[in-house]
């Protein structure tokens, strides 16, 4: 067991940075709308992300309806289907998950968990949200633009992304998508700089890096990665925008459209876009996954009343995964025709990532081992995450190997894989985290009955959707096809399964409506939570009030004496010791 302060209070160093006066709101507008308080910004980020995420959810229903019942939904044309698919993917990955984990949970939890009054530059932090909102509006605006949103697929591969055969390719769709992404990156950078500097330079007295809750480690590492990975997407977007708007040829080779119409491009490299995109795109997977890893560690430790197993290894695994994820990007490009030795290299680095991720999974399981497990709703979601992540990770081993990937790459197997590992798994953590921290944000618990209904339908439903999809992919059903028709190699069972998956998806979708209703209903009618309903150790539960006031803590910032995982300490009077409890471990207890 890593015990960083075996005998309680050591010498506590003096404050190195004088307290900074916060911006105090003057009225309703500066308190709730143009707020510089990270907690308000977090809620704004989360609300916007959820709203645009709902759009993506509805798009997924429409896609499933088309796949399950192609004749009934003949009005969904292939063009529309591609537009739905593109927007669904881009929104879910970037505008929902990235924004929610980093902008939402990052803003709310980092200052509270490191013992700061706010982010280091609240004004820049506020700008971050408003630019993000602008990016979302531009993206949503493409639904109403002439020609509709882009249907290039969420990877936006050229040359097809900007040719006239693709929906939005020669209309406004692709332009608005690229502009929106550029805005998102600018906005995110402003927030991301804040998160990184707050963790590095804005911690309270006694809060060393190795006493940070793993939630902060996950969000911090993901933010650093985002600051280094988003530049590649930024550059790719700028260059494609030039290709589309002023006719340059960065990504566009000489090409004849529709057999007769030569395009005014020459000598560009579509593969270069793929390299730039995936240099962003693969770290992006872990930008979404690392905050989930961190949060789930804290959920498991808190609700199993046991210290996290192997804290230091958990931290180093997060850092290791983050670093490795920058050298695996071309495993998304095995079928692009690159040199086989490249495939060999990238397959090796890809499979090496299994080591730190396996360390994390073992440590989560060992944390549960002989723990005092409370099957609360956050814990249920955390357990569901571990199972789902292992499932999704195992199919990743299939796809990480070149020879297995080549036949599977264009099938539904890939869709099933990445939805399990970076769709379902992180969103389960999002749900768990919302059930866990909602009491701190609102002061009330979420409704238990609705929560359990939401959990079981979502968890089991996700498996009903994506397990059969692996089979559908293995028999060779290609992805990206709105309907497969009467194809000789596709057995009838696939059609039945497609209908089944569609119905399961709609049921899971309904459960999310229950969840959203619960979020709104419990603000007024939930059971009052008190300051620390989960009896947790981290600083956000030790605030002066709930929800925490402007400035987070009272007159004095908390002083940290121990790590975040002093649960069930032998000899202690309570089964948790808050991080700011100065007493030696054996006498510690809740204050």
């Amino acid at each position: 067991m890593v015990d960083l302060t075996p005998h309680g209070a050591g010498p506590i160093s003096a404050a190195e940075v004088a307290e900074v006066e916060l911006y105090h709101p003057h009225g309703w507008w500066t308190k709730y709308v143009f707020s510089q308080d990270a907690k308000v910004i977090a809620i704004q980020y989360a609300g916007t992300a959820t709203a645009i995420g709902l759009v993506a959810l509805v798009l997924s229903w429409l896609m499933r309806l088309k796949l399950g019942f192609p004749d009934t939904f003949a009005s969904i044309t292939p063009d529309t289907y591609y537009q739905f698919m593109t927007m669904h993917g881009m929104i879910m990955v970037i505008y929902l998950l990235t924004a929610l984990f980093l902008g939402g949970f990052g803003n709310y939890l980092i200052p509270l968990m490191v013992g700061a009054r706010d982010m280091v530059f609240p004004y820049v932090n506020m700008l971050s949200f408003w630019i993000y909102l602008l990016a979302v509006l531009v993206l949503a605006g493409s639904f109403f633009a002439p020609g509709g949103p882009t249907g290039a697929g969420w990877t936006l591969y050229p040359p097809q992304a900007i040719t006239s055969g693709t929906p939005g390719g020669q209309d406004w769709g692709i332009i608005l998508m690229l502009v929106s992404l550029i805005l998102f990156i600018v906005g995110f950078t402003m927030g991301g700089l804040n998160y990184v500097v707050t963790v590095l330079q804005g911690r309270t007295r006694g809060m060393t890096l190795m006493r940070l809750p793993l939630t902060v480690w996950g969000i911090f590492t993901a933010t650093v990665m985002a600051l280094l990975a988003f530049p590649a997407l930024f550059v790719a977007c700028v260059m494609m925008l030039f290709d589309r708007v002023i006719g340059s040829s960065f990504f566009m080779p000489a090409i004849v459209e529709m057999g007769t119409n030569p395009l005014p491009h020459d000598g560009g490299s579509p593969i270069m876009f793929q390299h730039l995109f995936w240099f962003f795109g693969h770290p992006e997977v872990y930008i979404v996954a690392l905050p989930a890893f961190g949060i789930v560690s804290d959920l498991i430790s808190t609700h199993a009343r046991k210290n996290i197993f192997g804290y230091r290894m958990m931290v180093w695994a997060i850092i290791g995964i983050g670093a490795l994820s920058f050298v695996v990007w071309a495993h998304h490009m095995y079928v692009s025709g690159m040199h086989p030795y490249f495939g060999f290299f990238f397959a090796t680095t890809t499979l090496i990532i299994a080591i730190p991720t396996a360390i994390k999974v073992y440590n989560w399981v060992l944390t549960l081992w002989r723990g005092d497990i409370h099957l609360t709703i956050p814990m249920l979601f955390a357990l569901a995450f571990i199972v789902t992540f292992v499932n999704g990770g195992l199919t990743g081993l299939f796809l990480g190997n070149v020879v297995v990937d080549v036949p599977l790459a264009q099938t539904m197997f890939v869709v099933a894989h990445f939805h399990m590992v970076m769709g379902v798994a992180p969103i389960l953590v999002v749900f768990g985290a919302i059930y866990h921290w909602y009491p701190k944000v609102t002061g009330r618990m979420l409704n238990e009955a609705m929560g359990r209904f939401h959990f079981w339908v979502t968890f089991l439903g996700a498996y009903l959707i994506f397990f059969p999809m692996h089979y559908v992919g293995l028999v060779g059903v290609p992805r990206r096809y709105p309907e497969i028709g009467d194809t000789a190699f596709v057995p009838p069972s696939v059609h039945t399964l497609n209908e089944f998956i569609t119905i399961a998806a709609l049921v899971v979708g309904f459960a999310q409506m229950v969840f959203l209703f619960n979020l709104l209903w419990s603000i007024r009618h939930g059971r009052p939570a008190g300051d620390n309903p989960w009896r947790a150790t981290t600083l956000e539960w030790q605030t002066a009030g709930t929800p925490p006031p402007h400035g987070n803590f009272g007159k004095e910032l908390p002083v940290v004496y121990r790590w975040a995982y002093d649960y069930s300490v032998p000899g202690a009077s309570e089964d948790f010791i808050p991080q700011n409890d100065p007493r030696p471990r054996t006498q510690g207890g809740s204050a």
Partner: protein, 240 residues
């Protein structure tokens, strides 16, 4: 909560040197970089991110240049000026580079005088820096005009690979935008120094925080970065 002084505050305890010092700092509480203020840390992280942007731009340009099947225009000829009856290769670029590097010198002097609270010299040196930067952008505009009149476009040029024009306008344009923003913020900071905002503790209009002379240094970090990036653009685009 009334004091707004950040940074070089009160870390006086002796610290170990070398690698032991790094390890001690990173395992300490509060700050990983002792004696680095929030603003300076933020600028460094931003510059790291910006490095990746310029890196991606330059790598994409180099990929295009190496993989093109048609000739790449010869920069020595394209970027030559006809002066005194002969073509002098890269003469304009050489002057531009000299001016930008000189402006880093004046910027460094401004930082020095800023910490000595010499408001007049600091402001004047910052204005000189801004003037050199503005001249750089102006000369770049001249170069753009010259190339455009010679027929260089993002989609075509008279001498070879079309990526020459698009890479040139994109990379120098993105860098020129950085310089322009730098000039604007140099003027704003110089005005604050001149008025004595950092002495009287006037609060920022948007942030409501008090500024300090460290802002000059942070401004300088950005300026030197933009200068350094130019050296790489110069080497990879013009000298290659």
């Amino acid at each position: 909560m009334a004091e707004t002084t950040l940074g070089h505050a009160n870390h006086t305890a002796p610290r170990p040197h070398g690698l032991h010092g790094v390890a001690a700092d990173w395992s300490s509480d509060q700050r990983a970089f002792k004696n680095v203020s929030w603003g300076k840390a933020m600028m460094w992280v931003f510059l790291l991110s910006d490095t990746f942007i310029f890196g991606c731009f330059l790598l994409s340009y180099m990929t295009a240049r190496m993989s093109t099947t048609v000739p790449w225009p010869n920069p020595s000829e394209v970027f030559a000026l006809h002066l005194f009856g002969q073509d002098i290769p890269l003469i304009l670029i050489a002057i531009m580079t000299f001016m930008l590097i000189s402006s880093s010198g004046t910027m460094a002097m401004a930082v020095n005088f800023g910490y000595r609270h010499d408001r007049r010299k600091t402001a004047v040196l910052m204005l000189v820096t801004a003037a050199l930067g503005a001249t750089f952008v102006g000369m770049q505009a001249f170069e753009w005009t010259k190339l455009i009149t010679e027929g260089v476009r993002p989609w075509a040029n008279p001498w070879g690979a079309v990526q020459f024009g698009s890479s040139f306008f994109m990379i120098t344009g993105f860098h020129g935008t950085h310089v322009t923003f730098g000039v604007i913020f140099l003027l704003i900071t110089a005005r604050k120094v001149w008025r004595g905002d950092y002495e009287t503790g006037v609060r920022g209009f948007f942030t409501s925080r008090r500024g300090q002379y460290e802002s000059v240094e942070i401004m300088g970090l950005y300026w030197h970065f933009v200068d350094l990036v130019w050296v790489f653009i110069f080497a990879f685009f013009y000298l290659w």
